[in-house]
Symmetry: C2
Subunit: 328 residues, 2 copies
């Protein structure tokens, strides 16, 4: 019997979860829930209902895990605690500064309902967190570095789109190669934000817009661009569609540490992702953790968890014997 | 109160565990057990007793976790099941073909004694297994590749030393760069052993030994060298000591997989280790899993486990709040 998955929302990430479910025989898409008119949402999996979010509690006993497809800014802080009381849930909450608060809210709801919730699943937070944490435990004397890119930052692209006179935009986050090489050498450098990443922007301006003003507004935007060396390229809408349609991303976590009686030996651990599709990879991680949440719930576990709290074997469709036989 | 660790044996790996314990405030070396005359063994930690292995059961209630420092060929298949009944134990058993048998033996003993045993801990098996397994769960349609090196293989160095006329030897396993690049491109190639690794040997011959015969014996040795392109360099004992005294190692696991409705997106996950000291890094991993075994045992768990069965948070000295606050 397969694990019945519901997905809340139907944006890029939800579609990534939907296609990941197809790659896992033990997972089954049971329903997609939407705030929109369900009749207006066409999903890719035949025979699966699209249901109005207001009717979601009717599905309480019909789905095993609810995957939250929403964003961290406004959706997840509300939705995950709201539904964790009724469903085992997985989210990709990635506002690092608010994780403690989100964890507490979701934990209270999940415990009240006797459900399992897993928050902050994906690649960062998620796979990168796992690597940072395990590497920190194995090499306690050291430093870790996280580089993102080269890849499309949807948050930064959105920020550019909000500028007057901008029709569309794509922002690439680019790690600075010399900084990466310095880290790989084991020298444990200290960096400012500007020394680790560049920001590379492709902008379609409205006809007649003041490009010099747009470029200035981008480069001076606090938090998003002011602390980085930023390049702005104005291109046509056709060029954007032709050359920048994908959502590739990636990055790497490097732990650099020492061992030995005189700390004389250096060690470098590097975990590197190169992703053609950020939402599909993130969706694949969410699908694996949905499996884990279902199993933990079956075992009687409840409350909020992160990737740190879940034994790796729970993620896999394979048996313990298969895992030991082929992957150990 | 710190976790009291015993170490069985005092070779390279045990010394790596000893120095790792010093880097972790919550771990304490309680005793080293040896088959040799304890008076002949000088350890690096002041005030810690060296005890004859025959008296080890006197320490049943004085140590929390026993770390096995022995080898997989003859020590661990006997020692780990023998002591898992009396102690929480950690070993680095790495004979992949015999893991099922070893797991069953250790599991029976640990369950009999109500103890926790963790086998096959280190970097391969160990960290590499974790990466292979998690990556396989996240990208179920794909292939994984493991490359080792450039680094000293102690098993291969020993095999050369057993040849008549060889005084000392060091064998480096070297990944073939063109194969690595092919894998990183996402083309999912099929390789023979010869296409993935080279073997590079530095040999000190006895005076008057027949070097041509030694070279031939190395290159034709089944399992170890016959299936690889092998280079043999004869060097002096001084050169060996000067240039090849360290035990560096490393390698990488690459998972190459696809996602998407038409499997149109490629993803590459790479985990890369560059280790100045193989035994010290392995010892550091064993130390982190010793912490986990102690905690699992305190919770009432028992039986044999591998890295797949242990939630990452158990490895860290940091609290759940700290981990979520700083590493998620």
């Amino acid at each position: 019997m397969s694990i019945k998955i519901g997905i809340l929302g139907y944006g890029n990430l939800s579609r990534g979860v939907e296609s990941a479910i197809k790659q896992n025989d033990d997972l089954e898409l049971a329903a997609v829930f939407t705030r929109r008119d369900p009749a207006s949402v066409q999903i890719k999996t035949a025979g699966v209902p699209v249901v109005a979010e207001k009717d979601i509690l009717d599905w309480k006993d019909k789905i095993d895990v609810l995957v939250m497809g929403g964003g961290s800014a406004t959706d997840l802080p509300v939705q995950t605690p709201k539904y964790a009381e009724y469903f085992n849930v997985i989210d990709s909450f990635d506002t690092h500064a608010r994780i403690a608060e989100h964890f507490a809210n979701v934990d209270a709801a999940a415990k009240k309902g006797g459900k399992v919730a897993v928050i902050s699943v994906g690649w960062d937070p998620g796979m990168f967190s796992l690597l940072r944490m395990v590497s920190d435990a194995v090499l306690p004397e050291g430093k870790h570095y996280t580089f993102w890119g080269r890849g499309v930052s949807q948050g930064h692209s959105d920020a550019i789109r909000r500028i007057e006179g901008v029709k569309d935009a794509r922002q690439y986050t680019v790690p600075i190669e010399s900084a990466v090489e310095e880290v790989r050498s084991g020298s444990n450098p200290e960096f400012t934000a500007r020394q680790m990443h560049l920001r590379d922007c492709y902008v379609v301006a409205e006809e007649g817009a003041d490009k010099a003003r747009i470029e200035k507004e981008i480069k001076e935007m606090p938090n998003y661009f002011a602390d980085y060396d930023t390049t702005v390229h104005f291109i046509s809408e056709e060029e954007l569609k032709r050359d920048h349609a994908g959502l590739p991303h990636g990055g790497f976590v490097i732990r650099s540490g020492v061992t030995g009686n005189d700390k004389e030996h250096k060690h470098i651990i590097e975990y590197n992702l190169k992703l053609d599709s950020n939402p599909e990879f993130t969706g694949s991680v969410l699908a694996a953790y949905a499996r884990a949440a279902y199993r933990l719930s079956k075992e009687g576990s409840n409350g909020c968890k992160t990737v740190f709290d879940i034994a790796p074997a729970y993620l896999s469709a394979k048996s313990a014997e298969e895992l030991r036989g082929h992957l150990l």
